[in-house]
Symmetry: C2
Subunit: 262 residues, 2 copies
DNA sequence: GTCGAGTGTTCGTTATATTCGAACATCTCC
DNA sequence: GGAGATGTTCGAATATAACGAACACTCGAC
């Protein structure tokens, strides 16, 4: 593993919402590396526009990152249609809608659409990265990976327990993912946040690979009595986004109770 | 300059709208470097999530880029208010609105809002990077940099002539930027694309530094007769976005001076 | 105004980590 | 089945990033 690349990422990862601006000395202190090393590194990163210099010789993230991110987004097929369908979901149900992809064994949230008087959901936002095993979208995405790979990565990285409902046992998770695969959708039963439930369904691309997941996130007391309606709604949404990608999914898994073989 | 970082950027820059997926051999051939070097490099980048592996061992840009880009955007103060005001501009005038920042001597477009029956503007999109000297937003942004710096960079990188109206002479550009500074806004008189005009105004942050620019882009035949109205509109928009950033700009440059023809 | 502690940057040498070609394991398509 | 792709692994040679010290500079306290 390239030491330079590793260091670059450690530097970039320091920049956060709370702390969007760093000086060379601060970074060097935080990473316990010589000032000179960091100075040269950050200077190089600024030359490449991965960082940008502020007036006072300090640094912020650079616009090159936005550029690259934008070509990534613009070449992500389902995004436009997903956005359209998600807006419709918010209008119809007045609840928060999420769109996420899988990265390793973590869910990266691409979009978060909220109704106007929104229930505050703290932990998610576009660009957030959350452990996949505890959320609706995450479980949908994990369910369509090779279990071998998932199990290995989870054991390496640990299986954080976000609430008392979070599944932290590998065997239990395996069963849960099997269930998700069979029915074609996943519930989050207050596994990420107490008081918050969620239904999620997979988005397929033209070669029938699961590429993303959408979900409705709803306070538990409102969710439980109308579970079936929400489930039907998110399945329909996911199906429409998938179909827009090119292939008719006549037997969209879960929608007509057909099970997709693996 | 770190050779590794340089190589990383050359690799990342290959990924484009037209070609969002690359294999190791393709990259190696394109960059004229040994396969093994590229293989290890791209493998490292994938480990860091700057790239992601597709099913067939090829690579796409990784979601880490989106993550970083998102924290950059979320820590960019003017963006939310800018978006609001821009939407209003589109509704009111039915024309395309751009928001851009300066990166070196190039303008990076953060946002492009179009009316429903849009005049097709090919070269801009969110995430696009264009030479600053030829556009309205670009000239506004350059006008508020040190001329020394701008001149040096332009001489290094060359001053591309996008249309017959593009300013390609450094002295002429210096005068133009002086004029832009004085009046507080810039015109693009078919300097980027023939047939397309533009008015742009600067966005200030709380310490009165120019951090971005907004513009109205309008077909020449529609623009010329109503130049003054458009100018007043974009100045008002820029002022409102700036004021939202914290400081009252009682004497927002150009706002209370008379609008002059070019 | 002056000092001192902070900042970011530059430099030269050393050792380390990247590089590269060849060999390897797969895969795809005639 | 084989020819030509692909991506990956390996070890040795070398170029490259790391480091500490010295530098120039800014800022605030006194």
């Amino acid at each position: 593993m390239s030491r330079t690349i590793n260091k670059v990422m450690r530097v970039l990862d320091l920049f956060s919402l709370e702390r969007p601006e760093w000086g060379v000395s601060e970074v060097a202190r935080d990473l316990k590396l010589p000032k000179s090393t960091i100075s040269e590194l950050m200077s190089d990163l600024a030359d490449q526009r991965l960082l940008s210099r502020t007036v006072k010789g300090r640094y912020r993230l650079g616009w090159k990152l936005f550029e690259l991110s934008q070509t990534l987004l613009d070449t992500t097929g389902f995004r436009v249609e997903a956005r359209r369908v998600m807006e419709e979901l918010v209008r119809t149900w007045g609840e928060t809608v999420h769109l996420a992809v899988l990265d390793g064994v973590q869910a990266v949230y691409l979009e978060k659409l909220q109704p106007i008087p929104a229930v505050k959901i703290r932990i998610t936002r576009a660009g957030a990265r959350l452990p996949a095993h505890s959320s609706g979208v995450g479980k949908v995405l994990l369910a369509h990976c090779e279990w071998e790979y998932v199990a290995e990565r989870l054991e390496d990285q640990g299986i954080p327990e976000l609430t008392e409902n979070t599944i932290t046992d590998l065997d239990v998770l395996a069963e849960e993912l099997e269930r998700v695969r069979e029915r074609g959708y996943a519930y989050d039963n207050e596994e990420t946040t107490i008081g918050l439930c969620c239904v999620a369904a997979p988005i397929y691309d033209s070669i029938r690979t699961v590429v993303a997941a959408v979900s409705l996130s709803i306070p538990a007391y409102r969710f439980c009595p109308r579970k079936e309606e929400y489930t039907a709604a998110i399945l329909d949404a996911a199906r429409r986004i998938s179909e827009d990608a090119g292939v008719k999914l006549k037997e969209y898994p879960g929608y007509e109770t057909e099970v997709q073989g693996t």
